[in-house]
Symmetry: C2
Subunit: 234 residues, 2 copies
């Protein structure tokens, strides 16, 4: 009997990658939603280094870091492989998975700010999207590195979902056919996969979540500005 | 006939990881040293995203990012595997490889500064070493995740070599048996592997390189402070 538990946060792009992989592989699992304001002692025990979701616990053994978890899932349940057979193509997919994973947090920075800071962070987000658009050959096949969904697509998946919701909240449409034709056509393919489509949280719920989050960030930002001024003048 | 080329910089921790892996595997390769002040057009063509060494070119196909290259090498030349057989242990090694890889640049920041900035950056370096010391079980076996050298050890290898040289330049001994007993015993094991020992650049050369580098960083730092003042007052 397999015992698979996933500690996650439903709105987290990093958690969603793991959910998508488990569902694509057809692995049953128990989902444990974490309250990030009050993390469970189990989460802290399972991920002492980062103290972050997602954590996958398979037969009592814990694995952290979404991309490490995806490689573990792919090796443990080899059906519907997430990496190509060809060794060189595997390295291409790993390169882009790593690139996207490393940029994910920075690409969401614009959402924390308004005004000049937002504009500056947004410029960086657009620059990163441009690199993905022009260098990753995302438009050459249906998916990154081939015609079936894999590691790179699961890494980039948040752009088709979380980034869209964040854009909706602040009134920006990032992935248009005009601005990013390759990413746009990839996004269409990605969202057409039944398992992806059916496991995305409802758009209204996501929108509500990020609307609240945005209010919180802006309130925090104003607080930081005040703190900064105090710090400067004392 | 295999055609393997490595574009690198002899003193770069990221290049050294790849050299160690190729030598451990017994792969013959042509080494092309890059001048970072005047990068070759081939390097820019092979690594358009980062424009950085190391780049491995195997039969005309280029792979960038040291950790991606190491996985490619391990899959292409399976002799002397760099990852354990056990899937869970593989994920443990991948987790620590990723952790160490992501921290490498930040862990070297102290070397750019003196005074308060150096102290602050050094504190971060020591905190990261502490995490590796206490959480990675680096002292439980001879190497990270087992008793043979692998991906995690190649990622951490720069601590046994570059960090020691940087410490020598500024007069700090980071890895003492007292401060980091586990990392210290790992380092002893690592440096005893003949292929590692024999492929390290001579210590005097490394010391000379980082002594020059240090002078350059401090001159740049003073320049930055001047620029910053100008910026502030105009």
């Amino acid at each position: 009997m397999e015992d698979v538990k996933l500690f996650g946060l439903w709105a987290s792009p990093f958690t969603q990658r793991v959910i998508w992989a488990l569902k694509l592989k057809g692995v049953s699992y128990e989902y444990i939603g974490e309250d990030l304001g009050n993390k469970s002692s189990l989460l802290l025990q399972y991920n002492p280094v980062y103290k972050k979701v997602p954590v996958l616990v398979h037969n009592g053994k814990a694995i952290s870091e979404s991309m490490v978890i995806l490689e573990y899932i792919d090796e443990t349940w080899p059906q519907i492989p997430l990496l190509p057979q060809d060794v060189y193509l595997r390295s291409v997919v790993r390169f882009w998975s790593k690139f996207i994973d490393q940029k994910t947090v920075d690409m969401m920075r614009f959402f924390r700010y308004d005004g000049e800071l937002q504009e500056k962070a947004m410029k960086e987000t657009l620059e990163t999207l441009k690199v993905i658009e022009t260098e990753s050959q995302v438009g050459e096949n249906n998916f990154i590195g081939g015609n079936t969904i894999g590691l790179g697509d699961l890494a980039l998946g948040w752009v088709a979902h979380t980034l869209v919701a964040m854009g909706d909240v602040i009134g920006v449409n990032f992935i248009t056919p005009h601005a990013f034709p390759n990413i746009h056509s990839w996004m269409t393919n990605f969202l057409q996969i039944p398992i992806i489509k059916n496991s995305l949280p409802p758009h209204e719920l996501t929108l509500e979540y990020f609307t609240q989050k945005r209010k919180m960030f802006l309130a925090m930002g104003k607080q930081e500005v005040v703190d900064h001024h105090h710090h400067h003048h004392h």
